[in-house]
Amino acid sequence: MSAVMITRKVRKWEKLPGKNTFCCDGRVMMARQKGIFYLTLFLIIGTCSLFFVFECPYLAVHLSPAIPVFAVLLFLFVIAMLLRTSFSDPGVLPRALPEEANFIEMEIEAANGNVPSGQRPPPRIRNVQINNQIVKLKYCYTCKIFRPPRASHCSICDNCVDRFDHHCPWVGNCVGKRNYRYFYLFTLTLSLLTIYIFAFNIVHVVMRSVDHGFLNTLKETPGTYPLNMNTFLLVCFFTLWSMVGLTGFHTYLISLNQTTNEDIKGSWSGKNRGQNPYSHKNIIKNCCEVLCGPTYPSVTFFSLFLTSFSASFPQKTTAPLIPNEHTPDDVKPSIAAEKSSGPKDDQPPAAMLPPLASPETDAETSIAKNQ
């Protein structure tokens, strides 16, 4: 009997629950529906290309070459922020592993006591006090965790996201703790870029009108309909108002240290106004915290790439650890190179740890079949 080994590469992120798609070896994380994101990219790149092709030569010659240079820099920054928002992990909270879920269930049951049959058990809520304010933590039935304060479950991505702001189809991703500042910078710089392009369009039209007359200038519009200046002036105009409005709204939220989700639910408005426990009661401090605060790690990234740093067990047997770029240098020499001797027949039932990283980041599942 000979054994036929069929090796199938199982990518680690395929094992992750939730409706995210991953690219570039797990470094890029987005929602499933990406159509509108491509539209956003197309609109930005398309409009800016038209500007660079039709307007910049004239402006560079007649006004200053600094104008297109600054436009290019602003454009690159906008694209960088858009990609950063779209591709980063918004702050997804991993789901509870079975033991943790059971542990929480037992705690809930102990807290509820005996519920007479026929009666619905009370809702799963934990109360915590933050800065003299009672905040209710809700239990997420999908992720089997009590959501941290400010976290919310996104039904589109099917994940709990920390400091959940909203799910933005334009960037094809949720906006949460980790990528909110990139999202804000994206809206801000896109507003600036739109205003800049629109303003210089007007300048261009005015300057040409001075030379050739207004009506002639409109007739001579380069390009053919619909890809001509008038169309994209119109696109600019509408984009401008929506972007400036959105930026203004988020600036207001940042100054109060609130999320869109909280604002929509009215958590800290109306009779609760002024009781936001997360606010520092100081606009500058709120802005600094949101925009210049620490860069939080992506726990999803860690579950895909990190090797466990846990030490050896009581019998001093070292678990097979594979060093990768995240292993501290002083740990690497002590990591035993021993591999497990063969496929395990009896996995300890409680060993439900997330898959460890190999340098190639792909787990290989070998299926041995006997002929």
């Binding site: 033991e99 030490a311 300890p348 060993a351």
Partner: protein
């Protein structure tokens, strides 16, 4: 040859149970764990040792998330370079996470492993819980 990269070998003692130390949200959304001593560990170690470990962990996380001149400077510099600087530089948080990983490893080696316990780095659980695995009480030196 199949290589299953698993943390627990065949040689490991059986897992008796797991305790999960939850987050403490009383100071807001910063990463902080409860220091209350779980009753399941009463027979294995003393309260003070455990509280010391948790307090040190909390201090390390507080250092990572500290809002101050250094973090603002890092944020502004990163913004000016359109965050491309993080392609070559490690963030302050990541540096502290390495420190935390080393600390947990030390604690496991010195204190927890001899008592048949294992601390799991909270980053592996999404910074939600500190998982403490309680192994069956076997005499040390047995098993292979």
């Amino acid at each position: 040859m199949a290589e299953t990269h698993s943390l627990q070998d065949l040689q490991q003692p059986a897992v008796s149970s797991k305790v999960f130390v939850q987050r403490d949200y009383s100071s807001g959304t910063i990463c902080k764990f409860q220091t209350k001593f779980p009753s399941e560990l009463e027979s294995r170690m003393d309260k003070q040792q455990f509280e010391e470990t948790m307090q040190s962990l909390n201090n390390l996380y507080a250092e990572a998330e500290k809002l101050g001149g250094k973090s603002y400077l890092e944020g502004c510099l990163a913004c000016l370079t359109a965050y491309t600087i993080f392609l070559c530089m490690e963030t302050h948080y990541e540096k502290v996470l390495k420190k935390i990983a080393k600390y947990i490893k030390d604690q496991n080696e010195k204190i927890y492993a001899p008592r048949g316990l294992l601390l799991t780095d909270p980053i592996e659980r999404g910074l939600r819980v500190v998982e403490i695995t309680i192994f069956e009480d076997r005499s040390i030196g047995s098993g292979r």
